[in-house]
Symmetry: C2
Subunit: 203 residues, 2 copies
């Protein structure tokens, strides 16, 4: 529809709020003639700078977050399970994503959504290379090719650099959306992102 740049969707695969956003972001962008660049990164590196911990591990906040995740799932009518392994270290899924993206960004985005749905559906661990490979194979990807990709130093480096790039641009939470360089943090800001895309920005 337009030639505007994709909006950027930064996230950690183990982030429940990113999961909820992942279910909506492509449709939201499409309503405004935009595509989405999916950008997994390891949130832990940003936490080291802000001094935050994962929500699940923070007193008071963890209890609220668990209640809130269930509430959002019910309000939206989508599945939600907090995996026993939560919060997983999503490095295997992140590396797999960046390898697949070299082949086809749209197939990689499809894979990313399937990782989210699998992890928060209680069917796979995004921190398990085995689970990640099995999912990719079920989507038609070549197991050996992906295995090699995940072990490729260039892919490992890219996964690392993307996280550094995120922090360099001020990202400290997940999900995080950039519309051009305008930053939006959090699932609950999707309505503001939508308003922004519709031209409702001030000034």
């Amino acid at each position: 529809m337009t030639s505007a740049a994709p909006i950027e969707f930064w996230f950690d695969f183990a982030s429940p709020y990113a999961y909820f956003a992942a279910l909506e972001i492509d449709d939201l962008a499409a309503r405004h003639g935009r595509t989405v660049a999916w950008r997994p990164f390891m949130l832990g590196a940003a936490f080291k700078i802000t001094g935050a911990q994962g929500l699940s591990r923070t007193p008071l906040k963890g209890d609220y977050a668990r209640h809130d995740w269930r509430r959002i799932a019910e309000l939206k009518g989508v599945p939600f399970v907090l995996p026993a392994s939560h919060p997983s270290n999503a490095l295997p899924a992140t590396r797999a994503y960046y390898h697949l993206e070299l082949r086809s960004p749209s197939e990689a985005a499809h894979f990313a959504k399937a990782i989210f749905e699998g992890y928060f559906g209680g069917r796979l661990d995004c921190g398990s290379a085995e689970d990640v490979l099995a999912l990719a194979v079920s989507l038609g990807h070549d197991e050996l090719d992906l295995q090699n990709g995940m072990a490729n130093p260039l892919i490992k480096e890219r996964a690392l650099r993307m996280g550094e790039q995120a922090i360099g641009r001020g990202v400290f939470g997940s999900p995080w959306i950039f519309v051009e360089d305008e930053p939006f943090w959090g699932w609950d800001r999707l309505p503001m992102v939508e308003r922004w895309l519709a031209g409702g920005r001030p000034g």
Copy 2:
């Protein structure tokens, strides 16, 4: 309209997101036949439990928050100044509120809104007993009565206990809304509060 209990609006007077919510909360409640119980508390006590700092003082998060506050003010078309003293310790305003509330909850709520508008309009410091008294006098309250109230051990105790009650119920941020016992954290959850009040709760 109905006999339902007031919704509870918990906040720290020095919280920018609480200021934005304070501008909307009475109208929001009224749309659903509800009133609002204004509940100032000292957020610092909750921060000691969660390990958080004020947003302004947190790396990365502080920069985003300052951008976000300006953006919200522009989107909503409301004034917003970050006071030089920010974040103030709002104990004087909090004590004044609980003294005024004994006389008249609705006048106390009016006072609370005026504190927010004065502080984030750059006209007063909610951490200055002098500024707080001057504002109250301009609203028609008796200076000596309020001065005595703010120094009254029972009022000091009440301000303290309200904060402990908040933490005991899981409150760790500002603004915080309870609809009956359903908790909502943050200005950006007002649409969800509204949906909840409209009966859109799941289950």
